[in-house]
């Protein structure tokens, strides 16, 4: 019995350790890429925007964030076509917000502080800093289909997901739950 427990413990520790290394490597690689796009002032604006677009497509859990921002009833009452249109519009909107967020900041490096796990979601604590200041940056990441995807970014205690949820809920309430109206509002940005 003791041997079994020891072996189980050994497997569990090995599994956790491997996962820790895997997510740390993923984070280091993706944050490096993000910084490269962010600090690349040599290319044309639209070229940089395309790079952000690819970064967002590759690393963000777009569907989870997009649907997470809606009420379940709204997802149920809309047809597939409208939902797909919403997903597409949301993707463009998210890219634009990330592009704006990154373009107004200058950054030297992203330092990984620690990684916590809650309910299957990794909470990565990091700092993004230049020579004069440092900003706290948390990433909520989940492993979806063998790749890590960002569910939320929390900059200086402000969650992207929570903030957008408040905004979207308000728009949907104002329009009596019209997803078309929300799509139009997002397209305006």
């Amino acid at each position: 019995m003791f041997k079994i427990l020891t072996l189980l413990l050994f497997f569990f520790i090995n599994f956790s350790y491997a996962e820790d290394i895997e997510i740390t490597n993923w984070f280091n690689q993706e944050s490096k890429e993000f910084l490269e796009i962010m600090n690349n002032a040599d290319v044309e604006k639209h070229q940089n925007y395309e790079k952000y677009k690819v970064f967002v497509e590759t690393n963000f859990a777009l569907k989870s964030i997009a649907y997470g921002l809606l009420n379940e009833k709204i997802i149920e009452k809309n047809d597939k076509e409208t939902l797909l249109r919403y997903e597409k519009t949301f993707k463009a909107y998210l890219t634009k917000t990330i592009y704006n967020l990154a373009n107004t900041s200058t950054s030297g490096e992203i330092i990984l502080r620690d990684i916590d796990v809650k309910d299957g979601v990794y909470i990565i604590n990091s700092d993004i800093s230049d020579r004069t200041s440092s900003v706290s940056l948390y990433w909520k990441v989940a492993k979806i289909k063998d790749s890590y995807k960002i569910l939320d970014i929390i900059v200086e205690n402000t969650s992207y997901f929570v903030t957008k949820k408040s905004e979207f809920t308000k728009i949907l309430r104002k329009s009596r739950g019209s997803l078309d109206f929300l799509i139009k509002e997002l397209e305006k940005i």
Partner: protein, 246 residues
């Protein structure tokens, strides 16, 4: 050998259950804490005041801030920011005493003494020697005593607040030993306000550019920031979206 076989079998079973779970269409991961709706009975009035604030910001405050940020080198901006932050240390000392955080209160006394004596507060030497800044105020003291936030309020010129934090600001106005003992108090207040606005300049630009509803965005940001100062494990308790297979 038999035991090892059992362990391997167990591992395989665990692996299979993990894979079948991961391949289901939706994984129900929800936050343990739901984000409460913000009490906002004064919304129509608040929205009007926010529009007024943005109007004043456009015509008067923003141009001043943009010019200041353009002219002033980063070390000067940092020095000004440190100066106004240092003036808040006495209020932090009082707040920490009422919160029962005596060590933090002593830390604030030390920070104020060191920074004032060495550079009138413009250089944060105290942080360099390990006495890092701890944010607090009377509003947070009331929150930690169990006082609820009350309705959300947008204050003309000043910006977002709530009944509890605004009450805290009024108390601070009367008990602040620094502000009450310096000449031209109003100039210091204006300077402090402008400095706060300058510190948030990029965020305000963000709100202007990418917000679908400025009012809701500002309200949400305000509450998240305040809650992060009140709650432990704030980030861990924030809601997370359900996971859909991409």
């Amino acid at each position: 050998m038999k035991n090892l076989f059992k362990v391997l079998l167990l591992q395989i079973l665990l692996f299979i259950s993990y894979v079948s779970f991961a391949n289901s269409d939706e994984i129900p991961i929800e936050s343990s804490v739901s984000y409460d709706e913000i009490y906002d009975p004064l919304e129509p009035i608040n929205r009007a005041i926010l529009d007024f604030n943005f109007f004043i910001d456009d015509i008067a405050i923003r141009p001043v801030i943009k010019t200041y940020k353009f002219i002033a080198p980063d070390p000067v901006e940092k020095g000004v920011s440190n100066f106004f932050s240092n003036l808040k240390e006495p209020i932090r000392v009082i707040s920490f005493v009422f919160q029962g955080e005596f060590m933090k209160s002593i830390n604030s006394v030390g920070r104020f003494s060191i920074n004032t004596l060495t550079s009138l507060g413009t250089f944060d030497l105290a942080s360099r020697i390990g006495m890092t800044e701890n944010e607090t105020d009377i509003g947070l003291t009331l929150a930690k005593s169990g006082v609820s936030s009350g309705p959300y309020i947008v204050v003309p010129i000043i910006g977002p607040s709530n009944f509890r934090d605004l009450s805290g600001n009024v108390v601070e106005f009367f008990v602040d030993p620094i502000s009450n003992n310096i000449p031209n108090r109003s100039y210091v207040s204006i300077g402090s306000g402008l400095n706060s606005r300058a510190e948030l300049d990029e965020e305000v630009d963000q709100i202007r550019e990418v917000s679908t509803d400025k009012y809701e965005m500002i309200k949400s940001i305000y509450y998240q920031n305040r809650n992060s100062q009140i709650e432990e494990d704030f980030v861990q308790n924030l809601p997370t979206p359900k996971i859909y297979i991409e």
